[in-house]
Amino acid sequence: MELLFKPWPWYIAGPIIGLSVPLLLLMGNKKLGVSSTLRQLCAACFPGKLPFLNYDWKKDSWNLYLVIGMIIGGFIGGKLLADPNPVNLSESTIWQLKSMGLNDPQGLMPAELFNWASLFTTKGFFLMIVGGFMVGFGTRYARGCTSGHGILGLSALQWPSLLATASFFIGGILFSHFVLPLILSV
């Protein structure tokens, strides 16, 4: 029973994530990609007169089912089967986060940064509002995210996806090393 609540090692989680690629292809020529749902929701809710958002979004509604499933999967994994122990981070990460003024890790996200009241602080504004904006803007501009380029594109040996994934990491490394400490110090 206890095993159900334990986190999955990378060699279990990784292959299962990878299997979504052939499953979707075989179920109906569907290409794994999550960030395109952001475009679809924009097209469904507030397309305005923008050409990029005026298209038949309903034709691709399969991936809205995919992401609703992901919310349910998150609920099962993060609520029903939540691991009571903190994430098993490396010593150096724990030390480093402490040096930036964070508490000991608890749950999957630092509650002291990601909470409703924190939205109205400088830290929360940058981490959630600005960060979220860049995720939505950047993934659409790159025409894919970690799933579409990083998993599907790399699996299909597409070199533009390799460039995209490298860019995701360069951007992430830069911000994690140099910008996050600044934001956390305000």
Binding site: L53, G69, G74, F75, L89, L108, F137, P160, H177
Partner: protein
């Protein structure tokens, strides 16, 4: 929006559940894990990529070699990603956001499901980012 739940799409819901569960139990939706990854302090996240991609690649190869058909009996289409400058510029901007939020779009959904309700705000902000991109397309290098 979902006036009619299409039964033919329920299978994608099931894939989503498993995908979301693997991301969550694999801790790929954890802000902590993302910082650890960007600091190269653990193999965990790289292990996930380094197993997910070969599994995906081998399956695609197998589909090709065995000429497998979709459930509808159609040939499986080739996957083609085309280069444009947004791959690099947009990719970097997404990377910036990934480091701050600790989430790419998939984990955003899973975090909401996992009960981190404030992620809804991050998500709405991501929608706003996508909308802004749509608005600015004429002015951005392609």
């Amino acid at each position: 929006m979902f006036t009619v739940i299409e039964m033919k799409n329920i299978k994608y819901l099931l894939v989503g559940i498993v995908f979301g569960l693997a991301l969550t139990k694999g801790e790929a939706i954890s802000w902590y894990r993302i910082q650890e990854m960007f600091h190269f302090q653990s193999f965990h996240m790289y292990g996930i990529f380094m197993t997910a991609v070969p599994v995906g690649a081998l399956s695609i190869l197998l589909i090709r070699k065995l000429k497998l058909k979709t459930l509808q009996g159609e040939p499986v289409e080739k996957i083609k990603k085309v280069y444009h400058h947004g791959v690099i510029i947009g990719g970097m901007i997404f990377g910036f956001g990934w480091a701050l939020t600790g989430a790419c779009p998939g984990p955003l959904y899973a975090q909401i499901g996992a009960g981190y309700s404030v992620t809804i705000v991050t998500f709405v902000s991501a929608l706003l980012g996508t909308w802004t991109y749509a608005r600015l397309i004429p002015y951005l290098p392609d």
